[in-house]
Symmetry: C2
Subunit: 160 residues, 2 copies
DNA sequence: GACCGCGCGTTTCTTTTTGGAACCCGTCGT
DNA sequence: ACGACGGGTTCCAAAAAGAAACGCGCGGTC
């Protein structure tokens, strides 16, 4: 199966990965959340080749994750749209996993202050309904309205 | 910069991506959370080539994300470890982003029941301290204990 | 106990995608 | 008018992915 076919699957994870599913794209996004906006800055900070960076930025702009703002004739800044900002939980979930499981005893490279409450925060995934942290063993996936048959490893009950 | 060099950066996202940062790995994990455990099932359901699947599973086992349990001599199941289960927020964040921004008007393919509270849940990233949803514009990254100098696009204040 | 098929890979070969480095081109400052 | 800079594109070699066939131990079956 090829890259673009993946995006056509009936799976939200697959469709998401068709846009952001490679390491450079996700690193570009992480830097965007740290304030990077320009081609040259992404390139130098990440060490990605210009070739690959150009193709990734192009894809992200086409997908609507970045907006390309001219700050001078022929020079642009790549800025996160609302759609792009909505990827924050993905990046933070990865950062937190790395902090927790791969820190090599040195502690997290970055910590985060949540300005509204003033505290250093640990980003936590919770249930929208009861507010408790989500444990995969306590969550049952159900067939939703957009599911086509045969796309799952096993049959699932209907949502209700 | 090459793949493995990325994992040595002082950045939790980069280290995380060195393990799970390609589309097939993340799709393997998504299926693992849906209950898939065997090589043949991953292969057939995802359509990934056997070659690539074998290399991804190998990396995930070496990293400690999967455990390889023999269920017969010479046959194994790949099961998520605690470390692997901890990737749930990453997968759910991607699923939710896809549901929200890429659903093509058909609705989510899957919905999720949180058994402890009984409700259909929307996984939400909140501040561990105040419980409010995290908005990237309201979070200030600070230098943490594990930060080496020069790894950031711009200088950052110290945590404290 | 020979045969068949399954699960789980490995091998081989071809096609895509990266990495690396040079090159291009319009604008800006001087 | 001239050089430097930002933001790419082009070219070639190296690495990774796709496709399909092959290997091999085990378990069931006659």
């Amino acid at each position: 199966m090829k890259w673009n076919d993946i995006g056509n699957q009936t799976c939200s994870v697959a469709r998401t990965l068709a846009i952001v599913g490679d390491r450079w794209t996700l690193l570009v996004l992480r830097n965007a959340f740290l304030g990077t906006r320009r081609f040259e800055d992404f390139q130098q900070h990440l060490g990605v080749t210009r070739h690959v960076l150009a193709s990734r930025l192009k894809r992200l702009v086409e997908a609507g994750v970045f907006r390309k703002d001219a700050y001078q004739p022929n020079r642009h800044e790549y800025r996160l749209t609302e759609m792009g900002l909505a990827l924050y939980p993905v990046i933070m979930a990865m950062a937190h996993w790395g902090d927790t499981w791969l820190d090599e005893g040195k502690g997290a490279p970055l910590v985060y202050r949540h300005r509204p409450c003033g505290q250093l925060t640990t980003p936590t995934l919770v249930c929208s309904e009861c507010g408790e942290p989500l444990d995969p063993r306590q969550v049952t996936p159900l067939a939703g309205p957009g599911l086509s048959p045969g796309t799952l490893p096993r049959p699932l009950p209907e949502a209700g």
